[in-house]
Structures are given as C-alpha cells and as structure tokens.
Amino acid sequence: MTITKRFWISLIFSLPMLANMILMPFGWMLPGGNWTQLILTTVVMLVSARPFWQSAWASFTKHHSNMDTLVAIGTVTAYVYSIYAMMTGQAVFFESAAFVTTFVLLGQVFEERMRNNASNAVEKLVDLQAKDAEVMRDGQLVKIPLSEVVVGDIVRVKPGQKVAVDGTITEGTSTIDESMVTGESMPVDKKTGDKVIGSTINSNGTFMFRAEKVGDDTMLSQIVELVKKAQNSHAPIQNLTDKVSDIFVPAVMIISILTFIVWYVFLGASIASSLIFAVSVMVIACPCALGLATPTALMVGTGRSARMGILIKNGEVLEAVNDVKTVVFDKTGTITVGKPEVTDIVGDEKTVLSFATGLEQSSEHPLASAIVKKADKENITVPKVSEFKAIEGKGVEALIDGQRAFVGNDKLLADVKIDDSLQRQVVKLQQETKTVVFVGVENKVIGLIAIQDAPKETSKEAIADLKARGLKTVMLTGDNQLVAEAIASQVGIDSVIADVLPSDKADHVKALQQDGKVAFVGDGINDAPALTVADVGIAMGSGTDIAIESGGIVLVKNDLRDVDRALALSKKTFNRIKLNLFWAFVYNVLGIPVAAGIFYGIGLSLSPELAGLAMAFSSLSVVTSSMLLNKAKITSKVKIA
C-alpha cells in the first residue's frame, strides 16, 4: 500500500474523532463514545500505522532505530494506554494515536513528492536528446534511431531539428541554440569546421556534420554523469549529522522515559498526563529534518548550477568555496582569448619568420601555432631542421642550414647577445601587451616576433565582480613581467606573478594558500597540478580534458563571468545547507523540551497531535527550503554603490 493511500485511510477514519473534539464544547458527542473511537483508531493503527511498527521492529533487530521507531512507539503507547484507560473507566486519548499517524503520513506524502522532484531534475536533461537522426548510409540519407549512430557518420540537420550527437560541421552554416547544454542564452553562429553539441537545437540553416562522440561519450551524457555524482556526493558538514543521527533516536527514547519518570514519580502527575508528555517527546523529535538538510540542498543547488552551465563536482568543493580569499587566474585562454596572433616582426621579416617557423612547427605551444599560422599566410618556405632540442621554460634550438638557431623568451637572453636598438623595441612591444619571442642564430638575436593575445571581452567585468565580492585577484603566467602587467591593468587584476615556469604554477598557488583559501582558474594541461592543489579548482570548459578532470568546478560556457556566478551559487547553496541544519537542530532542541512539559508552568505545552504535526512540517520545511534554492536570486554583479 502506498503512503498516499495509507494517508487517506488514516485521514478518513480520523475525521469523526476530529469532529468530536471540535464539537464537544457545543454538546455534540460521537455516537457510541469510546467504543466508536476504539474501532476507528484500531483501523488506523492496523492499516496505516502498521508499516511503522514493521520497519521499527526490523531496525530494532539490527540494533538500529529510525524515525519510524519513534512514531511506532509513540502511537502504540497512546493506543494501548487508551484501551487500558477505557477498561478502568478513565479518560482516553485514542485520537492522539490516529492524528499523529495522519499528520506524519501527510508530511511523508509531500516530502516524497518533493524529494522525487529534486532528484529527477537532471535526469530530465537526458530526455532532451534527439530520438533519431538522418544519417548518410551507402550514399543515401536514411533515418535511424539515435542509438545506431556511430562515430564517423555524416548526419544531416534541418532547421528546427535537434543535433543528434557531438561532431564537426562538414557542410553548411546555421545558428544553433545551445542553451540547454551550456546555459548560453544567445544562439551561436556555426560554419564548416565548427563543433556542434548533441541535443542542441538548430534554428535556421541546414548542415551536415561528422559524428565524433556518441552514446555515453557525448558532452550531454558526461554532464549528466558529473551532475549525478555531484548531487549525491557527501559534504564534509554532513559528518556532524552522521554522528548525531546514529545516537539521535535512542537518545530521544531515553529522554521520553525520563520525562515520564520525572512527571509521574517526582512531580506527582497522573499516569495519563505523564504519558502524554512522554508520547509528545517521542513524536516531536525529527531526525529526518537533520538527515535531509544537506542532501536536498546539494541536489537542488548543483542541479540549478548545471542548468546555468556551471558544473560543481561535489559537496566538498561547495564547502571550500565559502572560505576562498584569493582567486588566481592563468592568463592564456583564461583571461585572454587564447588565440594569439603575430602582430609585429622586427628584423629581416622573411628570415626571422622562416627560422622561427622551422623551430616551432612541431610545437604545440599557443605562441608557436601563432607563428606557424603567420608563416602559412605569408607563404614562407619552411627550412630543414635537425638536432631539435627543447630548452625547458626558455624555448627551443636546432640546426638549420648548418647553423645553430634558437627561438624563445627573454630567459634566453642570459646566454645570448642582443643589440641595444632591439632591446628598446622589446620594451616598447611589451608595454603594448605583446609577448616578444626572440629569434637568433649562434649566439646573437637576429629578430623579434611580437605576439598578442587579447583579453576576452568579458574578463574585465568578471574581475570587477570578483573584486566587488572582496576577493583578491592574482594572475599567474609564464609570460614576461611587462606584458603581464599591461594585461593585468587592462582587466583590473590586483597583482601579477609573471615569468612562472609551467611546473612552478602549483608551488605559487601553495604559497598563496598561506594567506587563506585559494581558487585557481585555468584551462591548459599545465594548469592541472595547480587546479588540483588549489582549494577550489575552476576549469574552463573549452580547456583540455585533463584540466576538466582536475577541476572541482567546470565552466561549460568558457565565460569568465561564470567564475563569479559559480562562487555565488556555491555560497548560496552552502548557506542554505547551514540554514537547514540550523533550523533542524533548533527545531529539535526547542521542540523536545516544550513537548516534555518544561514550560508547562508558564502555560506552554504540546499535545501529541500538535507534536506530530510539528514533526511532519519540520522535515517538509527543510525540503521546501532546499527547493527554494531554484528560485533564489543569484546576483552576478555585486555593485558598490
């Protein structure tokens, strides 16, 4: 029998007793008196309350106890005593047993419904998937179910259709609404060569794309998996409730017995009223509110942030965010666009570029790809290179046409010579936020290549938001001090740590942790150690898989403003957890003494029915408070007036 059915039966059989209670002062009595009450209550006890006893007994045999233990003992005590009282001709309180059962079940009906809502929110994301796809097979377009699409398939998407899986456009252009996956509300323009994400909606154009990720590998599936893990993770703050919940129920039983003893033995109250106090204590105590406080808020908070394109991996991260004092940013790809371009070449343009391209063509460094791209554009012929050698953190060198050529950053200058006129150029370029690469032969610099990586449009606003929150911002970069400072002042960053070797990033984060908790925002492979070391690692979604793996928070949208939103949401969720726990504790701490009759002297006491009602609504209120997180306003901009 479902909880809902048990509730209705309990309610229907309790109603006559409620009428009796209300109408008694007006002279109306339930026909049949105590006998009718006995029969009604017996039905409630046998049908609606029996599962409580079964569960309580099953737990008892395992040396456990739960909420059902309290409800079962409370109602059975009231019921059995009333039968005894009826036989000995004293006042009965059958209605207590029936009402408590009704109220507790009412609370459970609501609570069950809301808990299901909270946990299903993310699973609904999976329903966003397209059901089928038009795929090129044997030169013809055929419609096949989504599950039959394999990697390498060419898929056609018409206007208004959903993109089936992740892939790259091979033909055509369109604008695509990606809000369901990335949280980005503006439609995104896509052309040949651009990536498309499965489950997003194509708006106006028709295009073909090659499937690259299907099934569990698609971005949406990965997100769902990540969010599921987050929603069910354990927040460290729960360790407290874990400890409390182990001893809670037995402790309440003991308090209840003590209440009876004190009232009956020491204060000389009658058995009936002593018993009412004891039953109230049993029924008002609500371990569930404590148990539900953290998981429900965690579930709603991480679910909501996922819809905004912010993936918070677990409760631990959420809790750590609360104490963050400093936010450290990687420069390239995080603060800047990450697509550097060659802006100036000093020296003999052709020679400088051809040497540099020869040395850099096999490198994956973003600066190297800027140089190679420039050479492509200028139709530079790439010379033959041999004895290639990397100089860690400085650059590379190799033999070109029998000469030892090198390219690298200013750390190389310690070993080589440079003209004064070139040196002046370097400073000038660096002040223009351009990174300077030195190209040389044997021991002499023959030319410079200036590369610029512009800050993202939103970086300035993002940093301002964080500063308004009272956080210290730091930029960590392998770039030269002058360039780094120029960019920092453009976007408004407090302090700069420049000339950092990739392997030292994590150490710098550790050093900053001396002054409080640190969040690190980054995207590259070389950021992974820093993301792990930081108290909160925030990985940009466009970043490498390894960075996303190491981060505690992933920003799907690649928008730096989401750092602030992520912090705001985490804080809000964590504060809600604390509020829930506070309420749950206070409720029990205040409720139990009141139920025990400590304030009886000043006229404050609770009947078991009211205690049961309070209990039902305390756990319900905790779940409601968590659900309200969905509606809570997230201020992305903390403006100083």
């Binding site: 909420m67 069950e112 808990r115 729960q238 037995p250 033995v265 569930c288």
Partner: protein
C-alpha cells in the same frame, strides 16, 4: 511503592536501550560469490541493510541486488555517494546496482536520508 517500581523499571529500560543501541554488536560481513567473471550479492532492505558490509573482489564486475521489503519511506532510495548512484527502490522489487570495482577501498552507501548505512569493501 508503585512509583519506586516505575522508577526502577524506567531506569532498567534506559539501561537496555543504551546496551542495545550503543553496545558493540557484531555486524554481518558477507563476501560476494564470484562466478563466470562476475560477482553478485543480494541485499535485503528491511529496517536497515542485510548484509551491511559487502566484500567484493577487485577488478571483477559486481552487481548488488537490493530488494526493499520495508514500507518506510526512509529507505526508499539507496545512495552511493562515491559512484554518483541514487537509485529508487520500489517495494518488493529487485534493483540491480552495478559497482565499479576498479579501485580497492571502502565505499559507504546510505539511505536517501542518510540514516541507515552500509558499506562495500573492494579488495
């Protein structure tokens, strides 16, 4: 006289509660049966979990079959926070839960309200 009996009786019950719930009691620990490169074990959910501790062999795909016999809504879900599993347990229906046994260690599971606990030991 009645009062003294009630007092002694009450204190005796308190003593029993302390011993029964807080005393040391042995917890059943059961190893899964390994057959045909997979292992499985049945867990009955009734006022807690039996067994409460399940030992699995590392590297062998494992399935825990949870069957809820208890009508309490306390136990209507089972949550493995380490694996991101939050499975509804309809009453009297066997639910299969796959456990990743790649890494050895202890993994807690709990009911939806974090009141009842059990654990998987992978070794």
């Amino acid at each position: 006289m009645t009062k003294i009996i009630v007092l002694i009786g009450g204190l005796a019950i308190i003593g029993f509660i302390v011993w029964w719930f807080f005393g040391k009691h042995e917890v059943a620990e059961v190893s899964a049966d390994v057959a045909n490169d997979s292992q499985s074990i049945n867990v009955e959910v009734n006022g807690g979990y039996s067994p409460e501790t399940v030992v699995l062999k590392q590297g062998v795909p494992a399935i825990l079959n949870f069957t809820r016999k208890d009508k309490s809504s306390c136990l209507d879900r089972v949550v493995f926070s380490d694996f991101g599993i939050n499975q509804a347990l309809p009453i009297n229906e066997e639910q299969q839960i796959k456990i990743d046994t790649t890494n050895p260690g202890e993994y807690q599971w709990a009911c939806g309200m974090d009141m009842f606990h059990g654990k998987v030991i992978v070794k």
